[in-house]
């Protein structure tokens, strides 16, 4: 177990180092004029002081409003994560039942129907669907908000950065209205983002369900004379769902990058819009900070999932002893 953890952490460390080198390079390129004075120190020593700053949680300050980049970046990133998470819930609610059905009734009309919808979802560019969604008020009038994180009526102080939590902290002032407003603002962007996820989850669930239904113990259960309903609910489901999770982990970076596009379309204050606006206003120091925050998160999250999978799934535990 220990050697497995060490191996994983080793991987994390090396990848993180490579990332900081990239971030440092970007940082140097954009701030080459700003501190030409210190450049005679040589890049190696500069890099180490840069690394030291990062370890101390100092990613520098914005050249526009002089705020600490790490703090601001994390607040924006929290809102991006909130969007991704909501989209994940939406798509799971929609896609898992569809995928299971498609897997159960493989090669039937139902299967083809579901898969057609899924493929269409994959074929539609996310930002295009976003732009279409933004135009919805022209069709159905005052129904759902299409712009911003939260209605301007509410003034919610930033505590965690996760607005769903922050709005629950101001219930004294606004009751639950701020929270409901936040949920309403999340619905459309999360739905658009879940388009892509739905396709992935449907395909994964369908595949996994098919595999399970073909396996020997299901055949054995049929042979024992169990009803189909009992087999599906008692045996198949339990084994079909867990393999999807590590597969989804691989989609994390795609989801986040789509979320960043969606933010720009829906004018949400997330890390995507932050980077976009900063680039437009020439605040290039935000760029390496953004790289570090996003990739740092993806890196540690995927390693965390891997470790978690090893702990909960007996099959995977085999990789603990790979060196033996």
């Amino acid at each position: 177990m220990l050697s497995f953890l060490l191996r994983r952490l080793n991987l994390l460390l090396i990848t993180a180092l490579i990332l900081t080198i990239i971030a440092f390079a970007v940082d140097r390129i954009v701030s080459v004029n700003a501190d030409a004075v210190v450049s005679h120190n040589g890049y190696i020593s500069q890099y180490f002081s840069y690394l030291w700053n990062i370890l101390n949680g100092n990613l520098g300050h914005s050249s526009v409003d002089n705020q600490a980049l790490l703090d601001r970046g994390l607040i924006f990133f929290a809102s991006t994560l909130e969007l991704c998470f909501t989209a994940l819930i939406f798509s799971s609610i929609i896609a898992i039942p569809l995928g299971l059905l498609a897997g159960l009734f493989r090669n039937t009309r139902l299967d083809y129907g579901i898969m057609t919808i899924a493929i269409i979802g994959l074929a539609l560019p996310v930002f295009w669907v976003g732009v279409m969604a933004v135009l919805l008020p022209s069709v159905w009038g005052q129904v759902l908000p299409v712009d911003g994180n939260l209605s301007l009526i509410y003034e919610v102080p930033v505590v965690t950065g996760f607005l769903l939590i922050d709005t629950l902290m101001v219930t004294e002032q606004y009751e639950l209205f701020a929270f409901i407003d936040r949920v309403a603002h999340l619905i459309l962007p999360a739905l658009v983002l879940s388009f892509f996820l739905i396709t992935e989850i449907v395909r994964l669930t369908r595949h996994s369900m098919t595999m399970v239904m073909r396996s020997n113990y299901i055949q054995a259960a049929y042979a024992k004379g169990f009803s189909r309903t009992k087999i599906v609910f008692a045996h198949a489901l339990k084994n079909a769902l867990p393999p999807i999770i590590p597969q989804l982990r691989l989609q994390l970076s795609t989801i986040i990058s789509f979320a960043m596009t969606i933010e720009i379309v829906f004018n949400l204050n997330g890390i995507g819009k932050w980077l976009f606006i900063s680039l437009k206003t020439g605040d290039y120091l935000v760029l390496p900070a953004g790289i570090l925050i996003i990739s740092g998160f993806i890196l540690s999250f995927s390693i965390f999932i891997e470790i978690l999978m090893v702990i909960i799934s007996p099959l995977r535990r085999g990789s603990l002893y790979a060196d033996k």
Binding site: D65, I94, P97, L98, I117, V134, L135, L136, P137, S138, W140, G141, Q142, V143, L144, P145, V146, D147, G148, S151, L152, I153, Y154, E155, Y174, E175, F177, I180, D181, V183, A184, I187, L191, I198, N267, N269
Partner: protein
């Protein structure tokens, strides 16, 4: 399938996520750009005026939007001395400044505040004179410098304005956006705190709304000023939100996230005017786009040549291609709402054949290339100079005149204007006060240079006399007569070809009543009422 069901379910929810009690007293205005400061004395762009003039501040006098007459605001009344040099204003008593987190006033408005507000602009030694001031737009910030010699405090509630020479535009200037009244007490407090620049960014005034916060996302929040001296609305919170995308503003108006939006895109105007839930407010402004002929050039010295060239320009196409529906075609320098406009029965006719004939009769040298000078960036009076220039180029090409388009910006443009080395110049004028003199003087006075507006290098003794006379003329009818004469002369002499008067457009939800838009001083939410339409 379920997605469709879900969507259907959402549609039936129909906006019930909103808290009626809160939305009822909050008005959200979605604007195009951020204000450059919160003081109309130093910022003259429309975004700054919209965010400040009527909301935060009050002035001594204002103009009644219906009758166009000067009515008292912070000044209760005023008298003019017999020599026409002194105006005495009596201030209202018990006018309180805003109470905010950053300032708690201890006294009511008095003469010191008025003196402070004007001396900041006039007095070069004033501690606030240079605060936040950009040297570049210095001239425009000081419309009073050539007008006033001094301002005296007679007692706590009386101030006296002393003019350099008799000038009837004083009241118009006092009603202009830059004549707002600040709190001297607040200014002193800021000096003590060592942050005088906050005067223009954390404003204190006497207007119906007090400033609450401004964040970098472009959200400005105001709260109702409870002690405002006039009757007020049911709006408790006023919020401005900046969104540069016209499509976004339009969608947000439809989705109910904005109650009013500024500058809808030209392409949306038709659908907007058909929408029953939205009022489209269009106000013609005095801002005008012009094509100036450099009258000092040999080739353009003859007024008949200038007239013939004007005939060759197809303004209708320019309006359609450059302005869409955001401007109205014009043949006069003054706009339709100006009291000095001389009604005209013969209009400019677009007639290229006649233009060519006339030019041939005048022995015009068609081999010469005419230069069209234009600024690089767009301006309030012209969204696209280059396109306009290209259309003019095509029109002139039709009658056989070759043209050169010269794009210049900033200092290069100024230098070129000063040298006078150009034949024609695409320009316009951005008018701040409601007085014909503010258009005619920069364009036509001999004292005005090409940089300050007179890009046709026009100087005629006759017009100069008329301009100067009207400035001191207290007989209103005579003043109008003078301006009529000027207009006749200019129409004949043609130093400028007026192209379009620009419109100011706002789309406002039907649930909001009584929003006033003044094309000169900005939008006014003082009397706005929000009603529940459901």
């Amino acid at each position: 399938m379920r997605l469709i069901c879900l969507l259907f379910f959402i549609t039936t929810l129909s906006g019930c996520y909103q808290n009626k009690a809160l939305t009822q007293n909050t008005l959200i205005y979605c604007t195009e750009s951020l204000p450059t400061s919160f003081n109309p004395q130093i910022s003259h762009d429309i975004a700054s005026l919209d965010a400040t003039t009527h909301q935060i501040y009050s002035r001594l006098v204002t103009i009644d939007s219906k009758t166009n007459k000067f009515i008292p605001d912070l000044a209760e009344s005023w008298q003019r001395s017999d020599d026409k040099l002194r105006y005495r204003f009596t201030l209202r008593s018990n006018i309180s400044f805003h109470q905010t987190d950053f300032f708690k006033p201890t006294r009511f408005l008095n003469a010191d505040d008025v003196l402070f507000s004007f001396n900041r602009m006039l007095d070069y030694q004033h501690p606030y004179h240079m605060v936040n001031n950009q040297a570049e737009n210095y001239f425009y910030n000081h419309p009073f410098t050539n007008l006033l010699s001094e301002i005296n405090k007679i007692d706590d509630h009386t101030v006296e304005f002393v003019l350099v020479k008799p000038d009837v535009t004083l009241l118009a200037n006092l009603a202009a956006h830059y004549a707002v009244i600040h709190s001297q007490e607040y200014a002193n407090q800021l000096i003590q705190q060592g942050q005088p620049e906050n005067l223009d960014f954390q404003p204190i005034g006497t207007g119906p709304f007090k400033f609450k916060s401004f964040d970098s996302n472009g959200t400005i929040r105001y709260k109702k000023h409870a002690l405002y001296w006039q009757s007020m609305t049911n709006i408790q919170n006023l919020i401005y939100f900046t969104n540069p995308s016209a499509t976004k503003r339009y969608t947000k108006l439809l989705s109910g996230e904005c109650d009013a939006i500024s500058y809808p895109a030209a392409s949306q105007l038709e659908t907007l005017s058909k929408n029953k839930n939205i009022t489209l407010n269009s106000k013609s402004t005095e801002n005008i786009a012009l094509w100036a002929f450099n009258t000092k050039r040999d080739i353009l010295k003859n007024y008949q040549v200038r007239q013939a060239l004007s005939q060759a320009i197809d303004k209708k196409t320019i309006l359609q291609a450059v302005y869409f529906q955001s401007a109205i075609q014009t043949d006069t320098l003054l706009s339709k709402q100006s009291w000095a406009l001389k009604p005209r029965f013969e209009n400019d006719q677009y007639d290229p054949d006649k233009a060519r004939q006339n030019l041939t009769l005048l022995n015009y040298d068609f081999s010469k290339t005419l230069t069209i000078l234009l600024p690089d960036s767009s301006d309030v009076f012209n969204p696209n100079f280059h396109k306009t220039a290209e259309l003019i180029q095509a029109n002139l090409g039709d009658i056989g005149i070759k043209t050169d388009i010269i794009n210049l910006s900033g200092a290069a443009l100024k230098a070129r204007l000063r040298s006078g080395d150009y034949d024609t110049y695409l320009t316009g004028i951005n008018v701040h006060i409601n007085d014909p003199d503010s258009i005619f003087r920069p364009l036509l006075s001999c004292n005005s240079t090409a940089e300050t507006g007179n890009s046709s290098h026009w100087c005629s003794p006759k017009i100069q006399v008329l301009l100067d006379q009207s400035l001191t003329e207290s007989n209103f009818a005579q003043r109008i007569k003078n301006y009529y004469q000027i207009q006749d002369e200019i129409y004949k002499q043609r130093p400028y070809l007026p192209i379009a008067h620009v419109l100011r457009l706002d789309a406002i939800s039907k649930s909001i009543l009584n929003v006033e838009v003044n094309p000169l001083t900005g939008i006014n939410f003082q009397n706005a009422i929000k009603q529940d339409l459901n």
